[in-house]
């Protein structure tokens, strides 16, 4: 039986697609057969971040409408065994996502895959609702910033009231926080919300803290999930988060400022 994960946030631009690409890749690296689905109909981007944009022939909406077989739309990742991408349509609109259609595709995928990761669009409208409706687990991507935290709280409310599990009175969708674009130096200067502040406000368990990192842009430039950049902070943080998701006990790194040597301190002063 496969598990359905939704990567969601309410607010746009906080790192849902980056995190979806990284997380799906991480799960596949751990040996789980994983598919990541783009729910952002009309604003497809997961294909670019995953580096498979030139291999898209059929998409999620084609499969829902019966215009293509699921196997024709699934794109196998060229780097990682066990990793597949289901891109969305760039031309249709979100009304193409019917609940029955989405359910049919998810049911078919769940026969084959261990994890189905749904990359939610921003907002709380049809695309976002469909991406979270069937979820077993939700990863809430949040930036340490007021509008993002507020929108995350809103999406938690939606998960608790409008998901399939909520509607059918089943066990609630598990919720975990992925705090991205965290800058420990700014936190120390009192310019940014602390991890603990965000946890206190949202009151859900912490899955990981991904530091603000130049590696993220570099990775998306070349269509590589940032988790594959093993030397980068962000890549390591995602790898840790995947481990925690699988139940491992891993300490949180990247929460405190890195100790600077005397030399770099002097350089910073003079800069």
């Amino acid at each position: 039986m496969s598990k359905i994960i939704v990567m969601t946030s309410g607010k746009g631009g906080v790192g849902k697609t980056t995190s979806s690409a990284a997380f799906a890749t991480g799960l596949a690296l751990r040996g789980f057969k994983t598919v990541v689905i783009d729910f952002d109909v009309g604003l497809r981007n997961l294909d670019l971040v995953m580096g498979c944009e030139r291999r898209v022939v059929f998409d999620f909406i084609n499969v829902i409408n019966g215009e293509a077989k699921l196997n024709q739309a699934l794109i196998k990742d060229k780097r990682i065994e066990n990793l597949y991408i289901l891109p969305t349509s760039q031309t249709r609109d979100k009304d193409a996502l019917s609940r029955d259609g989405v359910e049919k595709v998810l049911n078919e995928l769940s026969k084959e895959f261990d994890y189905i990761l749904c990359d939610s669009p921003a907002g709380i409208e049809r695309g976002a609702l469909m991406s979270l409706y069937f979820a077993d687990h939700a990863i809430i991507v949040t930036n340490p910033e007021v509008s993002s935290v507020r929108d995350s709280d809103r999406i938690l409310g939606v998960l608790n009231s409008r998901s399939r599990r909520a509607e059918q009175g089943l066990e609630p969708v598990t919720q975990q926080l992925l705090l991205t674009r965290y800058d420990p130096d700014r936190v120390e200067r009192g310019e940014m919300l602390k991890v603990d502040d965000v946890l206190e406000i949202l009151a859900i368990p912490l899955l990981g803290v991904v530091p603000e990192s130049q590696a993220v842009l570099r990775a998306s430039n070349v269509g590589m999930p940032v988790i594959l950049d093993e030397a980068s902070n962000a890549g390591q943080a995602y790898m840790d988060a995947v481990g925690r998701f699988l139940g491992e006990d891993i300490d949180h790194r990247f929460v405190n400022p890195q100790k600077k040597g005397l030399f770099s301190r002097l350089l910073r002063r003079s800069a």
Binding site: V146, R150, G157, G190, E191, L193, D197, E200, I201
Partner: protein, 123 residues
């Protein structure tokens, strides 16, 4: 950096303000999530009561909600018609009472606690 800045109290970090503002706004949003939004209904019913006694223009009504830490205020501003119109309206209505006094804007609490009403009057 001047030597005096050592004696000045440090400004409150912006992150602290961010946290406080979030806690306040989200406490209200979470509370409101469970029940239906009662404000439009409240406004209609208040207006219905006032309209029984005073002839008011539905377009000259302003409802404001200000959310604070432990106390919120609901301010309802209703612009009453000019005195002559008010008298005419009062005469037209049976069992009506003439609309209060005059020029100055009078603030009258509609009910205690967190709900305040202020009725503005044009003379």
């Amino acid at each position: 950096m001047s030597i005096f800045s050592f004696f000045r109290s440090a400004p409150r970090p912006s992150a602290v303000q961010a946290k406080e503002r979030l806690q306040i706004v989200m406490a209200h949003e979470r509370a409101g999530r469970s029940g239906p939004d009662y404000l439009p209904m409240l406004q209609q019913e208040l207006l219905a009561v006032i309209a029984k006694y005073v002839d008011i223009d539905q377009n000259k009504v302003e409802v404001k909600l200000d959310r604070g830490g432990d106390c919120s205020t609901l301010e309802v501003n209703i612009e009453l018609p000019a005195r002559e119109q008010a008298k005419a309206a009062a005469a037209a209505k049976a069992g009506d009472k003439p609309a209060g006094n005059d020029d100055a804007a009078a603030k009258r609490p509609v009910s205690g606690g967190s709900v305040n009403g202020s009725a503005k009057k044009r003379g």
